[in-house]
Amino acid sequence: MAAPMELSCWGGDWGLPSLHPESLTVMAYAKFSGAPLTVNTINNLWRAPKGDLPVLVSQDIVISQPAKILNFLRRQKYNADYDLSAKQGADTLAYIALLEEKLLPALLHTFWIEAENYCSVTKPWFASRIAFPLSLYLPGKMSREALNRILLTKGGPPLYTLTEVEAQIYRDAKECLNLLSKRLGTSQFFFGDTPTTLDAFVFGFLAPIYKVCFPRVQLQEHLKQLPNLCRFCDDILTCYFRLTVSGHSPAGQDTADANLQKLTQLVNKESNLIEKMDDNLRKSPQHPPRKLTTLKLAAGGEESSPMSRLSP
């Protein structure tokens, strides 16, 4: 209990203390149970004891998986489940299994397998926090592991192609979100007024979906239609991660500005592209000037199709 405990995990962005669901779960649990944890966000993976984050180091003990870390914290008397009845403890296990089976595949898919998301957000973000040359290898490895996991657990017959598997896992994830929303109802946390292990796990899985800005966001849109889950995430962020959030707010503001700049650049690029395509069409030899009346109609038809092709 007196031994200092250090947690190494992935850092955060977009208002979150961490982007990685498991790291977030452990951090949330530590806040709920009042465990004094010094959090080291990884900037250089060479220093991590094993490659697998999050990792808790206390004196000489190294523990690596979230369930084991939580067990260790409980043994050190930092127990957030103290007031739970035995039945509620059983419910916790069941809901955690539900999250892992139904929500985690879609979460992994959104982060690591959806091509646009992976290439524009996940890979650059993780690569920027890992030392070269591991940054060339590790994001790819994590992506392959995620794909492997999804295919092996969900990809058996009668689902034969990746698109069918994707459709199924997103359906499952949306159903899981609906179930969680019904279970939460109007109460502040899942078991009354104090947060417990289940709240830590749900927060760890939901917060990245809720906050991270991806190009392809069907899961986020579904989540935003469930206001009690959004309120749950926001509550935990403001109440328990208040210091971290305010500490990061200048950086948060900067990232917001940077995002805005990127967006304006993207919009400018798109409008440049549209202008170029219009120019090309006008100069194209397929529309000789003598067919003026039909040219107007055709041009009207032609202009609408590049617009529809450019919209996402």
């Binding site: 039945k87 403890g89 592991e145």
Partner: protein, 246 residues
């Protein structure tokens, strides 16, 4: 409700020589569910049941001209025919039921698979002889190795490959503890009426209790919880007596 045909059949592997612990558990769960819905079904044992199944998993049922495999899709199929056990539950209870079914699949089923395909002693003495028994050498060995490789890949992907047998038994214990707490002193998980969760739990626990393995550690873990053993006995007496149990 659509009429249930007389010749509905459930296919599984050969009961005496071939079927393994996890498949037996799944098959018993489906049989229990159909009994609870009062839908008669014949059990047919075929050596190639796994290959006949549309999803590669046993058991599967052949009803009319449709073939459906695994408990989840079978429950939905039966619901579409107008029979359901969980209609009386409210939304929160349905969410709980789904969560507990995932818990059983996630922990109990995975532990059974681990025990029979990743524990070397069990693999050598029980699984290899049983799994390929209807086939001649060397096909029986090849099929067993292939299946073992598949299961080991899956275990590695979900992070169970690094677990020792003790840790797996710990997980089974935790799962049984949770189930026991949830059941409490009620006759079924959602009080008076059985649901698909009861069928699933019965299938797994009864199989664990009655299957002879190398050691009794797995069944000992379940026997520690008297309300679970009473639950199994109650369902066995109510739904399976009067039928041939071999």
């Amino acid at each position: 409700a659509e009429p249930w045909p007389e010749n509905a059949a459930l296919y599984q592997q050969l009961k005496e020589e071939q079927i393994l612990l996890s498949d037996n558990a799944s098959s018993l769960a489906v049989q229990a569910f159909l009994q609870m819905c009062n839908l008669p079904i014949r059990v047919i044992c075929r050596a190639n049941a796994e290959y006949m199944s549309p999803s590669g998993k046993v058991p599967f049922i052949h009803v009319g001209n449709q073939v459906v495999s695994e408990l989840g899709p079978i429950v939905q199929f039966v619901k579409a025919k107008g029979h359901s056990l969980s209609d009386g539950l409210d939304e929160v209870q349905k969410a709980e039921m789904k969560a507990y079914m995932e818990l059983v699949n996630n922990m109990l089923l995975t532990a059974e698979l681990y025990l029979q395909w990743c524990d070397d002693v069990t693999v050598e003495e029980i699984t290899y002889p049983r799994y390929g028994s209807p086939y001649p050498w060397p096909l029986n060995r090849i099929l067993s190795y292939q299946k073992q490789w598949e299961v080991r890949r899956k275990m590695k992907a979900i992070g169970w490959a690094g677990k020792t047998l003790e840790q797996v038994l710990e997980d089974v214990d935790q799962c049984c503890h949770a189930l026991s707490q949830r059941l409490g002193t009620q006759p079924y998980f959602f009080n008076k009426q059985p649901t698909e969760l009861d069928a699933l739990v019965f299938g797994h626990l009864f199989t664990i209790l009655t299957t002879q393995l190398i050691t009794d550690e797995l069944s000992e873990k379940v026997k520690n919880y008297s309300n679970l053993t009473a639950f199994c006995r109650r369902i066995e007496q109510q739904y399976f007596e009067g039928h041939e149990k071999d």
